[in-house]
């Protein structure tokens, strides 16, 4: 079990799930806004990535309880995340720079 005793309640878990659902709805809405309006992909992409990062952090922090765990586990998890993020950055830079 997580280190901190003040774990979320059932009601809080449901609220977090609703927030995740709303963020997913915004993501999908953004996709269609780009399709149907003059909004550019260049503007939408950072928003979409930001929403995905927010959902990612919410699930990791509250559902996986990393927010309440020892820092050792956060650091362990961060190693893989940072390395994978670095890999994406290199690939995207390669694509953008041709």
């Amino acid at each position: 079990m997580a280190e901190n005793a003040t774990m979320p309640t059932t009601k809080m878990y449901v609220r977090i799930a609703l927030l995740l659902a709303v963020l997913t709805g915004i993501e999908v809405a953004l996709f269609y806004i780009v399709e149907l309006t003059a909004m550019t992909q260049g503007l939408a992409n950072p928003l979409l990535i930001g929403l995905a990062v927010a959902k990612f952090l919410i699930v990791v922090g509250y559902f996986m309880h990393l927010k309440y765990e020892k820092p050792l586990l956060s650091r362990t998890f961060a190693i893989g995340a940072v390395l994978a993020g670095g890999l994406y950055t290199v690939v995207i830079a390669d694509i953008l720079l041709g």
Binding site: A21, F31, I95
Partner: protein
């Protein structure tokens, strides 16, 4: 479940060894999926998005959005199973475990349907490199979901057979939960990078 810490805590870290091992495993899985997603991104750029065979022309965003929602909600049911067990409510834990497995199977059925649609419309592993990378990436993710469903159903069957989940099995629920949430966060990344950003 917090009492488990007394049985299996690593002396210097203060964290259960199996739990620490699971976090190391999940961290390494980031690189596994990171390589597959990068592979898709590299191949995606080789074909114009206006090409009739580009995956973007095949995606059914409303359908995939519903699948994503199902997987997202399975994370809620998973954490509720874990929470119920922590509160000592064995019956609720069993119900939520079974619900999570059901939502996982629903997601897999959706993925099977989506793959079938793509193949009918002309996609395939050997059509274009971008399709190979797409099927390998989403297929491996689906395999992870399937493995998670097997573990959930095993926990459910154990709970039904024994009438309850013991403290040791409670740690298993926590570990399976971590794995399940990880599969969910990988889908959060896939859904945005592969489906929503052309």
């Amino acid at each position: 479940m917090s009492d488990l810490a007394h049985h299996d805590v690593h002396e210097s870290t203060g964290v259960e060894n199996r739990k620490l091992g699971m976090w190391f495993f999940l961290s390494s899985e980031f690189l596994f999926f990171g390589a597959l997603i990068s592979n898709y991104l590299l191949f995606k750029g080789q074909v114009p998005t206006t090409d009739a065979l580009h995956p973007v022309q095949f995606y059914d965003i409303p359908f995939t959005s519903i699948s994503s929602f199902v997987l997202l909600m399975s994370s809620l049911t998973m954490v509720l199973a874990h929470h119920a067990l922590h509160e000592g409510d064995q019956r609720a834990a069993r119900t939520w475990l079974f619900t999570t497995a059901g939502l996982g199977l629903t997601f897999l059925a959706g993925q099977f349907f989506e793959f079938s649609e793509f193949v009918i419309k002309g996609a395939g592993l050997d059509v274009l490199p971008v399709w190979s990378s797409f099927f390998v990436l989403t297929g491996f993710h689906g395999a992870h979901v399937f493995l998670g469903v097997v573990m959930l159903l095993t926990l459910f069957a154990t709970s039904v057979r024994n009438g309850e989940l013991s403290e040791a099995q409670g740690l298993n629920v926590e570990l399976v939960g971590l794995y399940w949430h990880f599969v969910d966060i990988i889908w959060i990344v896939i859904f945005t990078i592969i489906y929503l950003i052309p």
